[in-house]
Symmetry: C2
Subunit: 192 residues, 2 copies
DNA sequence: AGAGTAACCAAGCAAGCGCTAGTGTAAACG
DNA sequence: CGTTTACACTAGCGCTTGCTTGGTTACTCT
């Protein structure tokens, strides 16, 4: 097995695995299917990953890392008004969700297949990401832009956004940014 | 196999299956695990269900039927004001979601494991339920209670509500009704 | 040229999988 | 009373699963 966690080959294989995990689900994706998609034999797979679990962990880590980076960058680059930050955060969320769709769908719906060790490690990443959200929501609440319990509001907003992967069609008329703006408008008392 | 679709024994077995499906996921739940939980041997299971798929379909059908019945009844019994109907619908949604939690978690997260035939059949049930939501949202929009696109709003609201199964703790201080009221308050311009 | 290493393959093992076949038994029915 | 029906059992078939083993190839570095 490769020691370097970020070998380019391994990254490519991880990307392919994410796609299959979305199509079939983690449990139904066999190592033979993974290998075929990657153009190698099933035995060779275990040169890159210790076991099937590690592939899942790699997929989820990749996606969550990206989400963190994108959200942080977006927040840094934007103005300080709470409304703008809220909008920017929602946009960043949907941007990662749909450019890195496969990895995120796996992270959202196959998280429970992780063994406890991997789950614990990745929880920290996810918590860091959610902390960004809570901070943005807090500012918006304090500015009187929205109302409600900080904890509940962030859960509801994240839920609404995450659920989009179940119905949103990227080839439809609406862009992810439209979606984000509509959601922000929905929870703000006085639109436009 | 039993011909009657609603034999009491079968209902009980379906309930147990739902619990295991939630705990382990559909694919990881073996017929031997199901049988043990039911207090019978794995072979006997196929007297009640044609195959493993049929157990999944039974679980999902049961949950969705209940949701429909509860929502319809709640809407019939409540006043005609759009605000009340919106609140009642949200409450009914969370009520089913948490009294029938196992079945609904399976319906939400294992839907894709259904074979095409079962999926088509159950889609009608789900569509009927979502139609109730769209109607309620439409009334609220028309009355100026909330704003936005009817399609998007209902998707966002349903997403926020469904996602609660991932974080809500029924033993915590908040009741499901509290949650429903908070969500409705969040999307309404002028609270209390 | 020789050593080291990353990437791969062929072959297959042990365990577990969904499901079937054939049988037994006790209650319900005509 | 004999027959049917519902429910359960034992035993195991045929197949797939994740993973291992032992070895080969191709490339890089000194």
């Amino acid at each position: 097995m490769n020691v370097m966690n970020a070998s380019p080959r391994r990254k490519e294989l991880t990307r392919l695995a994410a796609q299959l995990f979305v199509q079939e689900g983690f449990d139904r994706t066999t190592v033979r299917m993974l290998a075929q998609e990657m153009g190698i034999k099933s035995g060779s797979l275990f040169h890159h990953f210790k076991d099937k679990q590690e592939i899942l962990a790699a997929v989820i880590e990749e996606g969550t890392q990206n989400a963190l980076v994108i959200a942080r960058k977006a927040l840094e680059e934007c103005a300080a008004e709470p409304e703008m930050r809220l909008r920017v955060m929602a946009r960043a969320h949907l941007e990662t969700l749909f450019t890195d769709r496969n990895a995120h769908v796996v992270a959202l719906f196959e998280w429970r297949r992780l063994d406890p060790a991997a789950s614990a490690h990745l929880s920290h990443l996810r918590d860091a990401y959610e902390a960004l959200w809570v901070a943005v929501i807090d500012d918006a609440l304090e500015a009187g832009l929205i109302h409600g319990d900080r904890f509940l509001v962030s859960r509801f907003v994240l839920g609404a956004l995450n659920w989009t992967v179940r119905w949103y069609d990227p080839n439809g008329p609406r862009s992810p940014d439209d979606l984000a703006d509509e959601l922000v408008a929905m929870i703000m008392p006085t639109p436009v």
